[in-house]
Amino acid sequence: MTDAIPTLARASSLRLTPAFLVGAALVGLHVVVGLMTLLWTPYDPTAMTGGRLALPSLAHWAGTDRLGRDLFTEIMIGARIALAVGTGAVAIAAVIGVTIGLLAAFASRTVDDVLAATLDILIAFPTLLLAMLIVAASDGASLGTAILAIGVAASAIVARLTRILARRVLAMDYITAARVSGTGWLGIIRIHVLPNIWPTLIVNFALQFGLAVIAEASLSYLGLGAPPPNASWGRLLQEAQATVYTAPFGAIAPGLALVSLVIGLNLFADGLRDVADPTRRRR
């Protein structure tokens, strides 16, 4: 291999792995469609525009639902809801998780042990169950509680990752040098810890985004997500299951939309990891 100096050209060619491109394209498509629904949709999402449970046609690309609403319109709006929940949940998980993870990394041995044990127990709980618990304890399900619940559940995972990464950095000799030369702990976080750990964290955020999309769909499938008329993919699938004997197609299209977004996010995360961590490239 002629990898003497990693040139800019090579770095940019790495970004263009086919998997990463496919991932970015899938995510980009969903973002464009999601944003577009703010301005325009093929039909009014609440209007009865055709026969009930119609098969896909030129007028209705994904058919219609049990009330005769255009399913393609609802799926487009579902993209917006999925992206909103993912963005909100990851933002919450990032703020809470990184803060707690850094605190644990800097804390005394005892505090760190207790935090680590608590995080392990929280992580042993699947995200979905923790989210159900929070939705149950709050007053009724809404888009807000779903975002909050999924975000809080994911923050335990982010916290544990942050703690492990930060402790690895803090064990370095240059941290001792920084401390001796009088850098405060806030300075150490800003100058040394965050720049070293953010690439790994960003990759994890992309994966958490995908998990949040699945968690939101599962919550709405269980009837614990955003209430109607929010056309979450999970709720579309739940409604389609009721009519699966007469109109099986409705149970397929929203699922394809969901899976394509999550696969896109996973490929995107893999691509980011290859850029962030050069040791993985040769695998």
Partner: protein, 326 residues
């Protein structure tokens, strides 16, 4: 027997950790359910109840006490295996959980065994034959599989095997229960396959990477240099080494399947632990929700305990070290 003594010492230490974890879990559950808005007493009174009725309900539930006293009371109840009675049906929660587990436990156990039987050979195959087309196909399919939510797989299986082919029922559980095992299994076939598929997707990836690690190891090369054939070396040295990380993943997978049964039970309308939790949430039946969550957490912790123990038994190097994970 030094080896026996070391394992015994480990079991004692790990049991202490298990007990402390149970206490922390009880505290976390208690706090989560108490600190969030909404009084448990609300479940007992109808909308628009007058203050006296609400106060009486609060006394009955115990939510009028200070939070510390509530926690002590709660721990005392747990200590005497009392999970309270359902607000809705009045049936003791522990009794109801016991009945529900006769469905959820066999469902999870059968799916778990099925997933291992499917994922181990496929994962190893994907690693050993990674240069052949089918090795690649296994990897890609398992990669795609982790992006599919469990309930959609369930719905697709219902569409294919219940609606189209009419081979299996789409939902429900026979009232005869396990007295007619064949009918019960026929009914549980699609739910089991659903869990097997979801579980295998992630399991295959772990088995594949564990196998790849083993294949790249120095001890395997040494064994080969000493004259062992490839498959002989892989079987004699690889399985035990590769098993260590896979066992801990199996523990996590089993735990999340136990709890993930919530969704699968909803897809197939099965009266298990998950549907008890879900209806508890919908009806604001606090004792049921709290009871199911506590019992599930116990099961998760015990599975983790068993997985750690199994790891020690397989890997002698781990036996001297303490139980904490970092």
């Amino acid at each position: 027997m030094i080896r026996g003594a070391a394992i015994l010492a480990y079991v004692v230490r790990r049991t202490a950790i298990l007990l402390v974890s149970m206490l922390i879990a009880a505290a976390v559950l208690f706090l989560l359910l108490r600190l969030l808005p909404g009084d448990p007493a609300n479940a007992l009174v109808s909308v628009g109840a007058d203050p006296e009725q609400i106060e009486a309900a609060r006394r009955q539930v115990g939510s009028d006490l200070p939070i510390g006293a509530q926690f002590v009371r709660y721990l005392g109840q747990l200590g005497s295996f009392d999970l309270g009675a359902s607000f809705v049906s009045g049936v003791p929660v522990l009794e109801e959980i016991g009945r529900r587990l006769t469905l959820t436990l066999p469902l999870t156990a059968l799916a778990f065994v099925g997933a291992i039987l499917l994922a181990l050979p496929l994962g190893i195959l994907a690693a050993v034959k990674r240069d052949r087309w089918y090795g690649g196909v296994i990897s890609v399919v398992s990669q795609l599989g982790v992006a599919v939510p469990v309930f959609w797989i369930g719905i697709l299986l219902v569409t294919a095997f219940a609606v189209r082919l009419r081979l299996f029922p789409s939902s429900g559980f026979p009232t005869s229960g396990w007295r007619d095992p064949l009918a019960a299994l026929h009914q549980l076939a699609l739910p089991i396959v659903t869990i097997v598929l979801v579980m295998s997707a992630s399991l295959i990836r772990y088995v594949r990477s564990a196998t790849l690690d083993v294949m790249g190891s120095d001890y395997l090369r040494t064994a080969r240099a000493l004259g062992a054939g490839y498959s002989e070396a892989l079987v004699r040295h690889g399985i035990r080494n590769g098993a260590v990380p896979v066992i801990s993943i199996l523990g996590i997978e089993l735990a999340s399947t136990l709890l993930g049964a919530v969704v699968v039970e909803r897809v197939f309308s099965l009266p298990g632990l998950g549907s008890m939790l879900l209806s508890g949430i919908e009806q604001r039946d606090y004792p049921s929700v709290q009871g199911v969550l506590f019992v599930s957490t116990l099961m998760v912790l015990i599975v983790g305990f068993a997985a750690d123990l199994a790891q020690r038994l397989v890997d002698p190097r781990l036996r001297g070290t303490s139980g904490g994970r970092s």
